[in-house]
């Protein structure tokens, strides 16, 4: 995939994640150095996967531990959340907002694609299999929260043609 476009998507995702956490979760997050890794097993206990289709094909994956997700959803609702289903649902909605916001930003530079509803995967180390992984550009972006916990946003994408 064109490196410039790939980096534009990465930057849009980073900016969207920061905006969503600031606006909805009232929490500052700091992006750390992105890295590449082999394989795509889930990096944390709760993982949201959104598929991208259109000019580009791929996925955005948001992985966070239960405690990090619980803190984020509790902040968002202004109430301590204990229910696991609610924590998973909230993590999916965070994934949805981050990808949706990045999508809007990218449409301004002519990069149009559709997004799926988030698919949630539970358990660290679960295999995430993709049919279109071959030939895709991949990156993993760690984010540090105010309480020093870390979650990851991952992108793999390639041109549709």
């Amino acid at each position: 995939m064109n490196e410039k476009l790939f980096q534009s998507i990465v930057q849009a995702l980073i900016a969207a994640a920061q905006d969503v956490f600031q606006t909805m979760i009232f929490m500052q997050i700091t992006p750390k150095e992105p890295f590449a890794r082999k394989g795509l097993d889930s990096l944390a206990e709760i993982t949201g996967v959104i598929s991208l289709t259109g000019n580009i094909v791929g996925s955005v994956i948001l992985s966070m531990d239960t405690k990090t997700a619980q803190t984020a959803i509790s902040n968002m609702l202004g109430d301590q959340v204990e229910n696991e289903q609610e924590i998973v649902d909230g993590a999916g909605e965070i994934t949805n907002m981050v990808v949706g916001m990045a999508k809007t930003e990218l449409s301004n530079i002519g990069c149009d694609f559709e997004i799926s509803v988030p698919v949630m995967i539970l358990g660290r180390g679960s295999a995430i299999k993709h049919l279109s992984l071959e030939g895709s550009s991949l990156t993993t972006i760690p984010f540090e929260t105010e309480d020093k916990s870390v979650f990851h946003l991952e992108l793999y994408a390639k041109d549709a043609s």
Binding site: D19, M76, E93, N96, G100, M101, K103, V117
Partner: protein, 125 residues
Amino acid sequence: MSLKVMVVDDSMVMRKLVIKGLKQIGVDVDVVEASDGKDALKKLDPKTVQLIISDWNMPQMDGLTFVKKIKEAKYKKHIPIIMLTTEGSMAKFEEALNCGVDDYITKPFTPDKLKKKIDKVMGLA
């Protein structure tokens, strides 16, 4: 202001967030919750619901199909609909308005933004 609102979103956290936002802006809210368009059509009582706030991307029946069905129905089309969605491009905005959506809010949202849109569609602005 007292308002009977239907909130349609497949995320229960997002539904809670909308309800929290409504309370924060001073709405004495009576809520009907639905998890997608199909569920909303089943639960909608057009005699009592005064406003619908609906997501776009949902399983079973998406928000746009739901809006079209409401706006085609003689006894339901008067209900104002605000679409609350991650779909923020101009093309999507126009598509939604063409289908009969009264106004549009992109996620993430603030209670202030919600208030402005509600005031506008309810004729209070």
